[in-house]
Symmetry: C2
Subunit: 130 residues, 2 copies
DNA sequence: TCATACATGGGACTCATTCTCAAATATTGG
DNA sequence: CCAATATTTGAGAATGAGTCCCATGTATGA
């Protein structure tokens, strides 16, 4: 809700850690990454910070098949993801036609406050080559 | 993987209960619905049965925002859903162009074994009028 | 009817995520 | 710089969906 966030070393640490990975990572992974380096950050704080970053549109969130939230610093603006189920390599994809389609289907059926989830998964070329 | 399922009264009960609702329901909801009628069905069995029905393509599964799996008996064949976040009213939608788009984006990036998740949510006309 | 492979369910267990709240700390007005 | 104050932190407890274990029950086919 609020946009007034204090700059604590924990928040900086989480943000910095996110910058070091290019794929989606879970709160737990980030927590153990931070455990090793310098002063660790509490798990609760990692969760809170990631949620806030997501609220602020700083990171994107996707859910794995086994219900784990994964976070990634993405480019700003609405987009979707094509991601490798094996190595989590991520490709951001944009498609105005998909957005229009979703909106059209919804309003054609009388729905308002439309939202949508569109994610494509697969096995990337590298992972296919094993 | 197997398709050899025995016809037990529990399985019949779960399947019948599913037929009585037209929206997506969770395993827990189905369990408490069944608790009231006749002989209840164990929670573990409800989960198992729903999973099997999903495997067999008898029901569709969607995840709520708070990571709960919801099941619904849908028409056969691949399709997606437009669903009301308030009352869970569901509209099945088909769109060959979306399917082609997903496949094209994936192969253009060297991905194989492509899968995708496409769900549209909103507030239905009735819930807006509420 | 019998043998037996498969199904059931109560309860313990997992595990991501949230909650609690006292102690730590960033911010700010003076 | 300093004290007052509003936030933030984090260790551990709590939550809750879903899974597992396994002794008991049963659908099914010979
Ligand atoms: Zn890969
Ligand atoms: Zn979109
Ligand atoms: Zn509705
Ligand atoms: Zn599709």
């Amino acid at each position: 809700m609020s946009t007034n966030r204090r700059e604590t070393k924990q928040r900086v640490a989480v943000s910095a850690a996110l910058d070091q990975v290019n794929e989606f990572v879970s709160a737990q992974q980030l927590h153990s990454i931070l455990r090793d380096t310098s002063d660790g950050v509490g798990l609760a704080t990692v969760y809170r910070t990631l949620q806030q970053l997501a609220e602020d549109g700083e990171v994107d969130v996707v859910k794995t098949a086994d219900n784990e939230s994964m976070y990634r610093r993405c480019s700003r603006g609405h987009h979707h993801h094509l991601l490798c189920r094996s190595c989590r390599r991520t490709v951001e994809v944009e498609s105005p036609s998909i957005e229009k389609w979703a909106q059209k289907v919804a309003s054609a059926n009388g729905f308002a406050e439309v939202d949508h989830v569109v994610e494509i998964t697969g096995i990337c070329a590298d992972c296919q080559a094993r």
